[in-house]
C-alpha cells in the first residue's frame, strides 16, 4: 500500500497529451512548453517515438506532456496512428489515461484539422483546442471568431504561436484551470463508416461558416514555387543540386571535427595507457572500449550535419516534395518516395538511416527500406576503398577529364545503389507481390525553418545515437576485443599477437571459406574486428601486417605493402565484397531494435553475405581469367 501511495505522490503531475494532424506544429508547441526537459523513448513493443516532457505553469501546476504521433484520424491506418488512438482512449498498455487532451490545429487549415477535433470530442473527455500558427492565419487574412468557435465546439479554445517565445501564454493560463480527470470514462470509440465521416465533415463546414471568415486562399506564392520545384525536369535539377550541396557539407564540414574526435579519442587512450599498468585491464579499456567506441563516435559530426540538413528541409516543407518527385522512380522497385530520406542518410551511416525509416508509416515499405539501407555506401567504407584504390588503381586520366581512381570510387557507389534497387525489386516481386502501396502524403505550405526547433531536433538525434553507441555497440566492442585478445600469444611468439587469439584461430576456418574469392589469411582475420565498424578493417590489416604505426600512417605504410603482396584480382574481389560488406554488427543490432525481432537482422546478414560472396567470387574469377595472376 505504501508503495502505491508513494507512486501517487510522485505522479501528482497531470497527464496532458498533444494531439493533432501531421504538420500542425504540434512538436514545435511541445518544444515550447517543455524546452529541453524531454525524453524520447519507444512505446513498448513498437518502434514509435514516445516523446515525453515536463512542464510547470507559472502558478506551479505540474504536467507531464506527451507529444503523440501526428494522426489524421483515430481510425488508424498506420502503427503511429494506432499508438495515438490507444493513448487517447487510455487503452495503451503501460500508459496512463490522459487527464487532458490538447487538440492542436493549424489555424490556416482548419478545414482539414477540425474533423479530428470533432471525432475526439465525441469521447466526452476533458479537452481543449489550441489554434496554432495564428500569426500566419492573420497574416493571410483569416479571421477566427474564437468565442464563436468555443461556443460551437463547446470546449475552451486558445490561440498559440508555437515558434514565438511566450506564444503559449494563453494555453498556460487555460492549463492553470486543469484538474485531474477522475470521472470514469468507458472507451466508447467505434470505427466510423462513410456516413459518419460525411456527417462530421458537414459539421466541420457548418462550424467554419459560423466562426471563421476566410478570404479566397492565396496560394499563388506556394504554387509559383511548386511549379518549378515539382516540375519533372527543373524540380529534379533542384533536388540534385540540394543533394550535392548536402553531401559536400557532410564530407567537407565534418572532416575537421572528425579529426578532433579521432585525436581526442587517441589522446584519451594514450592517457589511459600511461596511467594504467600494462595488462588486461589496460588492453580492454584502451584497445577494446576507447578505440572501439571511438571508431563509431567519430561519425557523430557527419550524422549531425546530415540531420541538420534533413531537419531544415523537413521544417521548410521541401522534404515531402522531394518524396513526390522520386515516388515514381522508387515505385518501380516497390518503394515509395518516403524511402528516400532514410536511404539518403545511409550514405553517411546506415544506423541513422535505419532509424529515419520510422517516418514511413507503411510497415512493408519501411521494412524494405531498412533491408536495403546497408547497400548505400556508408562513409565507414571510404577508408577501405581509399586504401585499396590508392594501392592498386593508377592515378591516370581517362577521356581527358576523369581521374581513374575517382571513377572507380563512383562505380562502387553506383554498384551499391543499383544492387539496392535490384534487391527492392526482388522483394516487390516476391514478398510484397501484388500489394498497392499508398502514398497519400501532405505537401504542406512552405515555411522558414525555425532555429530552436532545429536545435532541439538535433540534440534528440545526438542523444539517440550516443545511446546506441553506449549500449549495443559498447557490448559488441568488448566481445570483439575478447575474440582478438584471448588466448594471449605465447612468450616466444614471432607473428602478431592476433594470430594466436580466437580470431586468429578462426583463420583456418575463414581461409577455407574465403579462398575461392581470393582472400588471403590476413584479409580473413581483418574481417573479424572489421565487424565492429567497417573501417576498423584498415587498422586490423595494419595489425596483422605487424605495423606499429597508428591512424592515417597505417594507410600510408600499408598501401605499398598491399600493392606488393596482393594480386589485382584479390584487390578487386575485396572491393566487390565491401560494396555489400555484411559484417557491420552495429547495423544489425539497430535493425534488431527497429524491427523488434531477430528475424530481420539475420535475414539481412544472410542475404548481404550471399551477395557479397557471390559478387566477390565473380569479380575474382573474371579478373583472374582476364588478367592472369599468381593463382591462375
Amino acid at each position: 500500500m505504501n508503495a502505491a501511495l508513494a507512486a501517487n505522490a510522485e505522479d501528482s503531475a497531470l497527464h496532458l497529451i498533444l494531439l493533432g494532424n501531421p504538420n500542425c506544429g504540434k512538436t514545435a508547441l511541445f518544444n515550447l512548453l517543455t524546452g529541453s526537459r524531454q525524453k524520447v523513448a519507444n512505446y513498448p513493443g513498437v518502434t514509435v517515438d514516445r516523446k515525453e516532457g515536463q512542464m510547470t505553469t507559472p502558478l506551479g501546476k505540474r504536467f507531464r506532456v506527451f507529444d503523440l504521433p501526428g494522426a489524421y484520424s483515430l481510425n488508424a491506418v498506420s502503427i503511429d496512428e494506432e499508438v495515438t488512438r490507444d493513448v487517447v482512449l487510455g487503452v495503451r498498455e503501460g500508459e496512463q489515461r490522459p487527464d487532458l487532451i490538447v487538440c492542436v490545429c493549424d489555424a490556416t487549415n482548419l478545414k482539414l484539422n477540425l474533423r479530428l477535433v470533432l471525432e475526439v470530442r465525441r469521447l466526452g473527455r476533458p479537452m481543449l483546442l489550441a489554434l496554432n500558427m495564428t500569426d500566419l492565419a492573420s497574416k493571410r487574412g483569416i479571421e477566427i471568431d474564437v468565442p464563436a468557435l468555443q461556443r460551437e465546439l463547446d470546449m475552451p479554445v486558445v490561440n498559440t504561436v508555437a515558434v514565438k517565445r511566450g506564444g503559449a501564454s494563453a494555453l498556460l493560463e487555460q492549463l492553470e484551470l486543469a484538474v485531474r480527470d477522475v470521472v470514469p470514462h468507458a472507451a466508447t470509440w467505434q470505427a466510423p463508416d462513410v456516413a459518419d465521416v460525411t456527417a462530421t465533415q458537414r459539421e466541420v463546414r457548418r462550424i467554419l461558416a459560423a466562426s471563421v471568415r476566410e478570404p479566397v486562399i492565396d496560394t499563388r506564392f506556394d504554387e509559383r514555387i511548386d511549379r518549378v520545384v515539382l516540375h519533372p525536369f527543373w524540380g529534379m535539377l533542384i533536388l540534385a543540386a540540394t543533394l550535392f550541396l548536402m553531401f559536400q557539407a557532410v564530407f567537407s564540414w565534418a572532416a575537421l571535427p572528425m579529426e578532433w574526435i579521432k585525436g581526442g579519442v587517441e589522446a584519451f587512450g594514450q592517457l589511459l595507457a600511461a596511467q594504467l599498468p600494462e595488462g588486461l585491464l589496460r588492453s580492454l579499456l584502451v584497445d577494446g572500449i576507447v578505440a572501439g567506441v571511438g571508431s563509431v563516435l567519430v561519425f557523430m559530426p557527419q550524422i549531425l550535419i546530415l540531420f541538420l540538413f534533413i531537419l531544415a528541409l523537413e521544417d521548410s516543407g521541401y522534404l515531402p516534395r522531394a518524396a513526390f518527385l522520386l515516388d515514381r522512380l522508387m515505385g518501380t522497385v516497390g518503394l515509395s518516395g518516403r524511402s528516400f530520406i532514410p536511404l539518403l542518410s545511409s550514405f553517411a551511416c546506415a544506423i541513422p538511416g535505419i532509424m529515419a525509416a520510422r517516418t514511413i508509416s507503411n510497415w512493408r515499405d519501411r521494412l524494405a527500406t531498412i533491408m536495403i539501407a546497408p547497400l548505400m555506401t556508408c562513409s565507414a567504407r571510404l577508408p577501405v576503398y581509399a586504401l585499396i584504390i590508392g594501392a592498386f588503381i593508377p592515378q591516370t586520366t581517362v577521356a581527358g577529364v576523369f581521374n581513374l581512381q575517382g571513377l572507380v570510387l563512383f562505380a562502387l557507389y553506383l554498384a551499391g545503389v543499383v544492387s539496392a534497387m535490384a534487391v527492392a525489386g526482388v522483394l516487390k516481386m516476391t514478398v510484397a507481390k501484388g500489394l498497392q502501396h499508398p502514398l497519400m502524403l501532405e505537401l504542406p505550405s512552405y515555411r522558414w525553418p525555425h532555429g530552436r526547433n532545429l536545435l532541439l531536433g538535433l540534440l534528440e538525434r545526438a542523444r539517440i545515437f550516443i545511446h546506441r553507441v553506449g549500449n549495443i555497440i559498447l557490448a559488441l566492442m568488448i566481445v570483439l576485443w575478447f575474440l582478438s585478445t584471448f588466448p594471449a600469444a605465447p612468450a616466444d611468439a614471432i607473428g602478431p599477437a592476433i594470430q594466436y587469439s580466437y580470431a586468429g584461430m578462426l583463420r583456418h576456418a575463414l581461409e577455407i571459406v574465403f579462398a575461392p574469392i581470393g582472400f588471403n589469411w590476413q584479409i580473413s582475420i581483418a574481417l573479424v574486428p572489421g565487424m565492429a565498424a567497417r573501417e576498423v578493417a584498415v587498422g586490423a590489416l595494419g595489425t596483422v601486417y605487424a605495423l606499429s604505426a597508428s591512424g592515417d600512417d597505417v594507410a600510408a605504410q600499408l598501401a605499398p605493402m598491399l600493392a606488393a603482396g596482393w594480386s589485382l584480382p584479390t584487390a578487386f574481389s575485396l572491393l566487390a565484397w565491401y560494396v555489400f560488406s555484411p559484417q557491420c554488427l552495429s547495423t544489425l543490432a539497430v535493425v534488431k531494435r527497429e524491427t523488434n525481432s531477430w528475424r530481420y537482422p539475420l535475414l539481412m546478414a544472410g542475404y548481404l553475405f550471399a551477395l557479397a560472396y557471390g559478387a566477390a567470387f565473380v569479380t575474382y574469377r573474371v579478373s583472374l581469367a582476364l588478367l592472369g595472376g599468381p593463382y591462375a
Partner: protein, 96 residues
Amino acid sequence: MKATELITLFELAKGQEGTVSTSALAGSGDAADRELALRLFEIGFVDGERVRVIARGYPGGDPLAVRVGGTMFALRRFEAERVLVAPLAGGKQVAA
C-alpha cells in the same frame, strides 16, 4: 444545371479544377478499398469540395499533387482513381 460527366481525379488535367463527387465509389470494393475511400473522405475529398491538380509526376502523370480545401496532397494513381470529380468549365482546359 446540366449534370457533367464524372471522371476520376487521376484523369483531371493539370491546372484544371473539379468538384468532388465521391458518393458513387464510397463503400464499394474490398476492405482495403473501403478503408482507402474512408481516409480520402477524412482528409477532405468529400462531396462538393473543389480540387485542382497542381503538379504531376513523370512519366505517366503519377503521382499527382492535388489541392483540396486548403491543403495539398500527393496521391498515387490508384488513390486518385478512388475519387470521382466533375470537371469545371473554365480554368485551363487541357485535352486529357
